[in-house]
Symmetry: C2
Subunit: 188 residues, 2 copies
């Protein structure tokens, strides 16, 4: 492979992911590989060589989007950090992309059994940042010993996910209420 | 319309809903109206006349299934009733039908914007039973005044829904933990 071709690979991948995010945002889960090929000028054969299936391209694009819209929050107070993070998830799901993207990944996983794992990975990767803060709360003795930190975070963000799947937004105030309830429930 | 035709209508509808549930359970969201026509011997034109679109038939079938697998629990103790109900949701989502059906309704809503409302209705109808018990807890002064009962139930069942969408089951013990955390969080 020439040096030029090696340089072009990541750029092509980046262009494909950007275009897929853009089209998913605008059109939701009905986007086809033909649409993405037309938008990028990249041949379908190349797209399938890189991503194997339409569903895997969607999964990669969704992960790519997630990296951009859910910021890593570093804060001295874990409760404040969790609140900030919960509000950022609510905002992401309220954005034009949010509901469409979430529905797209779930729709893709419905038609491709191996994407159940990718959906799982998608959610778990997003939980990682929150778990850092929940682990800090646990280490400080602020959580009941019988509580699994990931369950606390699921109780905060999964209601937002299901609401988004139903076309209902979560306001910042509602995100705060979810955090408040979940942390109170898990408190010693 | 003849008396015979009037009697046949509900029977045809019942057969279509039963067949759709069966096919969704076995194959997930990829079921077509052709599949349902073939399984029931009902002409596609008749199916579309009754349900307008494939997605509306799926939504009707999902509601039909829900009526069968999520029992109404009447119990003197609202906490026990909520625990029982949460375990029945966990069991429904662990059943072969559960994940497929949930993915099917979400996938259908992704390709038919008007189904977002049906997905919303699907969830809200299921919440109704739980809300009866949560309202009893609120009336007994067992919940914080600033807590919306529906949010407590979302924190119990939505983690199970998202796990099911990711191919992960929720055990009865995990369902109990969700109930315990959410009720503790909402307690005065």
């Amino acid at each position: 492979m020439s040096a030029t071709a090696q340089r072009r690979g990541p750029a092509v991948e980046q262009a494909l992911l950007d275009a897929t995010v853009q089209l998913l945002t605008e059109r939701g889960a009905t986007v086809t590989v033909d649409d993405i090929a037309a938008a990028t000028g990249v041949h379908k054969t190349t797209i399938y060589r890189r991503f194997t299936t339409r569903e895997h391209l969607i999964a990669a694009a969704v992960r790519h989007l997630g990296e951009r819209i859910v910021p890593v929050v570093e804060d001295v107070d874990p409760r404040a950090a969790l609140g900030e993070l919960a509000r950022s998830v609510a905002a992401a799901l309220r954005s034009p992309a949010g509901g469409n993207i979430l529905r797209a990944v779930v729709a893709a996983s419905a038609s491709a059994p191996e994407l159940i794992d990718l959906a799982d990975e998608f959610f778990r990767e997003r939980y990682e940042i929150a778990l850092v803060h929940l682990d800090r709360l646990a280490a400080a003795g602020a959580l009941r010993r019988d509580v699994e930190p990931v369950v606390v975070w699921e109780q905060i963000v999964n209601p937002m996910h299901v609401r988004a799947l139903c076309g209902r937004p979560t306001s910042d105030r509602e995100a705060d209420a979810l955090v408040d309830l979940a942390l109170h429930g898990a408190a010693r």
